[in-house]
Symmetry: C2
Subunit: 216 residues, 2 copies
DNA sequence: TGAAAACAAGAGCAGTGCTCACTGTTGTTA
DNA sequence: TAACAACAGTGAGCACTGCTCTTGTTTTCA
């Protein structure tokens, strides 16, 4: 590992640089701001040469997506250490979305047209938070009424969770789904401006209100 | 109105045709599938001529967005006649999203980069459903505990609703927000494939479970 | 040391939104 | 009815995109 050939070191460095520039372009110009030609220009290289490092624009997007999923999930894990609560998850995701709005849109917004993220690149990093959330929901005081949803409706999720090595009963799964979609939905609404302006200073309070409403 | 000049009739027809083709391209190829050049080709007209009818691609998008908002809201109003319930709203939106996934993404997904929808084009059609929902939530049996969110956090929404001629107290607004973001969040998750495959046959049951969880 | 692999360059294809100068046609008005 | 202005359509062109292919150069490895 340590003694690489100069060429290998250069390649590794260039690959990392491409990802850095890609992330920067994503942050400043959204998904459409990511241009392989512009990256090539910045690298001081002709446009066709960048295809030595990245098979296509879509491949770069896949890397950035995987990157972003890992980044939020890491943030959640970090913040969860002092304070293990559902609200912490929501607040951390909200904060992350504020810091990287375009990365947020990349992973939780509209999928890119004519692009299918390879499952192996997204499943594991993309499900980490939900698995954590399910664990926290399971610790909550039991809901007054039993799950009002037919067992087969939760089948795919139950199976999916078990493939990841976790197992919960249906009321917990249903509640997890409710919290999950509400949290993502709220952050999307805020980030995408669907509530209009004027929410900048009350985002966290809204998240607090939402989580309380959903978990009490 | 009836006796227009031939030129005016032709113009009206062409404008309608552009919107029809635009919607069709949106439905089949997503937002990136909307190309003014392709529309011009289909009209049998040179690409620059289409700018006689549409100021820019963004203007066409604005029309399509407004169109889509009106379409969902109409569907909700229609379905609400026999069965006035929160679930009906969710189920209708879900069904509409299934029928027009790309129009759904256009209005509830990631905003288009470098594009700001003019507020006057989206506010009225875009808020109809939420206003209706608030009305239904207000009729629900009161929540056991009072609103756990500071009054100022709901200020912008309270004001927004009042501008539209509706007025609710904070617990109702908070609950409306919770239901709203959860419903949109669930549909987004389903449409955008964030839960993975295998949910096609259980979408409505999931929506039912979600609404029940949130309104009981 | 010589062959193979990797890197880079440059031209080119097909597509995009949009502008501009230019004709021909239609509608209005003096 | 003749003149003029508004309108519709043309075609060339700009600046940009992703991506491919051929050619030449450099590095690595057997």
């Amino acid at each position: 590992m340590a003694n690489q050939t100069p060429r290998q070191r250069a390649r590794t460095e260039t690959e990392a640089e491409i990802i850095r520039i890609g992330n920067r372009m994503l942050d400043s110009g959204g998904i459409d701001g990511i241009s392989l030609r512009a990256i090539a220009r910045e690298l001081g290289i002709v446009s066709s040469a960048v295809y030595r490092y990245v098979r296509s624009r879509d491949e770069l997007l896949t890397i950035l997506i995987s990157d972003a999923f890992t980044s939020v999930a890491d943030a959640v894990d970090r913040d969860l250490v002092p304070q293990r609560s559902v609200f912490t998850i929501g607040a951390t995701m909200l904060e992350w979305s504020r810091q990287y709005p375009n990365r947020w849109a990349l992973i939780y917004g509209t999928p890119i047209p004519n692009y299918q993220a390879p499952r192996e690149a997204t499943v594991v990093p993309g499900t980490r938070i939900m698995v954590t959330l399910a664990g926290l929901v399971a610790e909550l005081p039991a809901s007054p009424s039993p799950s009002p949803v037919p067992a087969e409706a939760l089948e795919p999720l139950r199976v999916g969770l078990e493939e990841l090595g976790v197992s919960h009963d249906d009321p917990v799964i249903m509640r997890t789904v409710a919290v999950w979609v509400a949290v993502i939905g709220l952050i999307n609404a805020l980030r995408f401006g669907q509530f209009g302006p004027g929410f900048d200073s009350v985002e966290d309070e809204l998240m607090q209100g939402l989580v309380t409403t959903l978990t009490e």
